[in-house]
């Protein structure tokens, strides 16, 4: 039975069983992943998997269930679970299943040419990169991971209001981590590269970047713990933005979990900062022409010149606030209920180069890597205290790598303290992106 037919049967039986409205969301993914160790293929993985969920209105409440066993028996399981789960919810929320947007953008997220690249070609590419990294410098002792991943995903959303949408995407991601040793000093540096254009991969440039990422940290020095002006490099900046992304969700605001609640129209950041979400960005791998409940996605300014324009809404939060959905219903997978999150979400790049940011500081710290974000940040208060790696800047030049540090501050204050933004926009696989920027100061503690 085709999935379209299965979706139809499920919807029909759901309505017959007493759900007033229903929606079926289906996802199917194929992937290939390989890792190398000392020139040899160490692991090789392929997959073909997926599942579907049923969301439906029962006694005015929205129940939810999913399965990965797509067979006739699962139809009864899904309908029973949707009912039981609707029953346990508290207030009816006056929800409905969407009838569809008037128009949908037609961006493509799928590259046929990438799909056509054979597995041996992908392995050869990774082998070439690994060899180049190992030959780059005698201080390179190993790669603690050297991974290539390719995926292709299909999604389909169908509901009892005759809405039927589909989406197809693919992408390729390289994860490389180089380990270097000099005397007793052992350092690792990781590097990630993603693309939808296999033939654009520059093996030499990738190998160089991955090697330098670790080598640059040899010869680390201690600097006094103090407050310093900080340059957050694009990748560290994108990680931090991504961690605090929930503050832009109207769902969090409505639950009193975002200090941006009610701040629309107010200055919440430095006036050089603009924050944008778009359904499609050529540099990013994520995105889609519709959101998790089928609403058409569109470009949206979240912060313009420091002023908060809107929070991110799905249909439920928009209804509560008496506005339109901004097309940010998020469905991480069929296993999750709907939440609110953007697809591609990034700080607008400025004009300067990363180098000119460095040259502009008499003394400061360039942060290239953050860790412990999941535990050292509080998205409600905005406070963060996280481990960091980076470099000491003196007289406009990088003076030395710095021993393991922590940086601490508050994200809401940081937004206001951004003093210069460069042009080097960088995206994480999640679609969250940022250029590098200077923050007036943060507390730095050095080991």
């Amino acid at each position: 039975m085709s999935i379209t037919q299965y979706q139809k049967n499920l919807l029909q039986q759901a309505v017959e069983a007493g759900l007033t409205e229903a929606e079926v969301y289906y996802e199917q993914k194929t992937s290939f992943q390989c890792t190398l160790y000392e020139g040899e293929l160490d692991s090789y993985e392929t997959s073909d998997d997926g599942g579907l969920s049923l969301r439906g209105l029962y006694n005015g409440k929205m129940g939810y269930a999913y399965t990965e066993k797509v067979d006739d028996d699962s139809i009864a399981f899904l309908i029973d679970q949707v009912k039981a789960n609707a029953d346990v919810l508290d207030e009816p929320e006056d929800l409905s299943i969407f009838e569809g947007s008037e128009e949908y953008a037609q961006h493509s997220f799928y590259n046929e040419e990438l799909e056509a690249v054979s597995i041996p070609e992908k392995i050869e590419c990774l082998k070439a990169i690994e060899q180049k990294i190992r030959a780059y410098d005698p201080r390179i002792i190993t790669l603690d991971y050297c991974i290539l991943q390719y995926y292709s995903t299909e999604r389909a959303l169908a509901n009892s209001n005759n809405l039927s949408l589909s989406h197809k995407e693919n992408g390729l991601v390289l994860f490389l981590s180089t380990v270097v040793k000099q005397g007793d000093e052992l350092k690792a540096g990781s590097y990630l590269k993603m693309t939808r254009d296999f033939h654009s991969l520059d093996v030499d440039a990738i190998a160089k970047a991955a090697a330098e990422e670790a080598l640059a940290h040899l010869g680390e020095q201690s600097i006094p713990s103090s407050k310093y002006p900080i340059i957050l490099r694009h990748d560290a900046a994108a990680e931090l933005l991504s961690t605090f992304m929930p503050i832009f969700s109207a769902e969090k605001a409505q639950k009193n979990q975002s200090l941006l609640k009610g701040k629309e129209g107010q200055q919440v950041a430095s006036d050089i900062l603009s924050l944008i979400t778009v359904p499609y960005h050529p540099e990013a791998l994520s995105g889609g022409n519709f959101d998790g409940e089928g609403v058409a996605t569109k470009q949206q300014a979240i912060i313009t010149d420091g002023t908060l324009q809107t929070l991110l809404h799905n249909r439920k939060t928009a209804k509560k606030d008496g506005c339109e959905s901004t097309g940010h219903a998020q469905r991480e997978s069929y296993k999750d209920t709907l939440s609110v999150a953007p697809q591609n979400f990034y700080i607008a790049p400025g004009q300067e180069t990363q180098d000119s940011l460095i040259h502009s500081l008499t003394e400061g710290v360039l942060i290239t890597d953050l860790s412990g974000l999941h535990s050292g940040t509080n998205s409600i208060s905005g406070d963060f205290s996280v481990a960091a790696r980076g470099f000491h800047i003196q007289d406009g030049q990088i003076a030395s790598p710095v021993k393991q540090m922590t940086i601490a501050g508050n994200f809401f204050t940081l937004l206001k303290d951004i003093q210069a933004i460069s042009s080097d926009l960088y995206f994480l696989p999640s679609g969250h992106g940022s250029p590098s920027f200077i923050v007036k100061e943060l507390a730095v503690t050095v080991e």
Binding site: E40, L41, D42, S43, Y44, E45, T46, S47, D48, D49, G50, G51, S53, G63, Y64, A65, Y66, T67, E68, K69, V70, S74, F77, Q81, N85, V88, L89, D90, E91, T142, D144, V179, L186, A188, S225, K255, N256, Q257, K335, D336, S371, G372, H374, S375, G376, I380, S381, D383, S385, V386, A387, Q404, M405, T406, I407, A408, A443, T445, V446, E447
Partner: protein, 462 residues
């Protein structure tokens, strides 16, 4: 879950191109999750995860494939496709499957799926009300209830054939306290490899009360000073620091490839004599416990460090080949979507002789970390970082004022050397551990520990 003849055919097809070992892992999991926020049950999810992983070894190469296609043709096709990654060599032999009975060490008294949803949500409401009534400054309470029944079937070309059912129950509580512009949160999330009896017996006054107390206490905490201090880490979830700082470095995943500071050091002193570090998957009903690991090996008690001497590693079947060692019942995966590897179960520091009161009384100036947040480590370098959820300054042998924003950073191997007190009050805490083979329930535990010096990052400066 699937006919034995199909399993045999799949194991055989997987070896057709020269592999020397094949394995099938079938998972059929039912999960329920409820979320209470703003005093209301606002999310309820039920689902069934179902899929099959097929693994093939060819020397030091591991091939893994997974699918939800449970038809015989689908599985055979997946096995054959995976086998294509192997180029030649003599195929291994298939031994006849021999069904092994699992002796359940972890008694389940009340299967979660026999309990009404309303009974589960009633307990969530009770936790919510305890946290709210703790203090008028508690502005928000988030309660999450989770139960899972994971049925697994593991069979391999060596003739292993074993089935097991794992039951998990967990209740997590996060309280938010607000006053003026200050917002702080506190968290407690007990969990067990047990049925609904675990949730019913939970001392909600304690757990929900603690989540609320932490949030309120931290409202008026000073900013944490930064610098190098003696740090006293309390028992139970405090053990997360050694989970990150040395547990991950003792996993074969890192050791086999020499990507760990502990590689090739068995028999060496890696810690003071007062430190004994154990991973034990057999502790009855503990959150990280299992009857069998995800390769079908019985879990066991693995002494990793004994009186400061490195005794062993946590080893899975694949890395055992590279290390020329035996598996230790430590191979785990989040689901059929993950190629299994060596992971921790319940890891803890064995109790010592100091009393908590003595440890604090003998500290002139330092930080007392009462509840830890999460952390992470780079196994190849051993550099770790941690957030402390509730911390205090200790001065002249007394716990003084609370401080917030404390982050601990350092190097695992070095921190281990600096343990100078081990308390007598061992307790375990439940957490989730994320690594190569996914996110897994693990226990971290310890008695109260003192480390003579850790770098503390804070907002206040020195």
């Amino acid at each position: 879950m699937i006919k034995q003849s199909i399993i045999e055919n799949v194991l055989e097809a997987a070896l057709a191109t020269g592999g020397d070992f094949s394995e099938i892992f079938i998972e059929d999991k039912y999960a329920n999750e409820f979320v209470l926020q703003s005093g209301q049950i606002d999310q309820s999810i039920a689902g069934r995860d179902f899929g099959i992983g097929i693994r093939i070894f060819s020397g030091l190469q591991s091939i893994y494939t997974y699918t939800n296609d449970f038809s015989e043709e689908g599985l055979l096709a997946a096995a054959k496709r995976a086998a294509l990654a192997i180029k030649g060599g003599a195929s291994g032999t298939i031994h006849p499957l021999h069904k092994e009975m699992v002796t359940p060490i972890h008694q389940i008294l009340r299967m979660p799926n026999t309990v009404e949803h309303s009974r589960k949500t009633a307990i969530m409401r009770q936790a919510d009300s305890i946290a709210r009534n703790y203090d008028p400054r508690i502005s928000q309470v988030f309660v999450r209830y989770l139960d899972e029944q994971q049925n697994v079937l593991i069979a391999n070309s060596e003739g292993k054939f074993v089935e097991d059912t794992r039951i998990y129950s967990r209740l997590s509580m996060r309280a938010t306290a607000e006053e003026g512009t200050e917002v702080q949160t506190g968290f407690y999330g007990p969990g067990a490899h047990a049925g609904f009896e675990f949730i019913e017996r939970l001392d909600l006054n304690h757990y929900a009360g603690e989540a609320a107390r932490i949030a309120v206490t931290m409202l008026h905490a000073d900013e944490c000073p930064s610098g190098k201090f003696p740090v006293i880490i309390d028992n139970e979830f405090g053990g997360v620091i050694f989970h990150e700082a040395c547990g991950h470095g003792l996993e074969a995943t890192a050791v086999a490839k020499n990507n760990s500071v502990f590689a090739n050091r068995i028999g060496e002193r890696v810690a003071p004599e007062i430190v004994t570090y154990i991973d034990d998957g057999t502790l009855p009903n503990e959150w990280g416990s299992l009857n069998i690991d995800d390769e079908g090996e019985k879990t066991r008690r693995n002494v990793l460090i004994e009186n400061g001497i490195l005794k062993g590693y946590l080893i899975d079947k694949f890395n055992a080949r590279r290390m020329n060692a035996q598996p230790t019942g430590s191979s785990r995966r989040q689901s059929y979507r993950f190629n299994p590897t060596s992971r921790m179960t319940n890891t803890f520091i064995a109790p010592g002789t100091s009393t908590p009161a003595d440890i604090i009384a003998s500290t002139e100036y330092g930080i007392y970390a009462k509840y830890m947040g999460g952390g992470q480590v780079s196994p190849s370098t051993g550099d770790y970082n941690f957030a402390v959820m509730e911390a205090y300054i200790v001065k002249d042998g007394k716990i003084e004022r609370p401080v917030r924003g404390a982050t601990l950073i350092g190097n695992g191997a070095k921190t281990l050397q600096l343990v100078d007190r081990v308390g007598n009050n061992l307790a375990h805490g439940a957490g989730m551990c994320g690594s190569l083979s996914g996110s897994l329930p693990v226990n971290v535990g310890q008695p109260m520990i003192r480390v003579s010096e850790i770098t503390v990052g804070g907002t206040k400066g020195e």
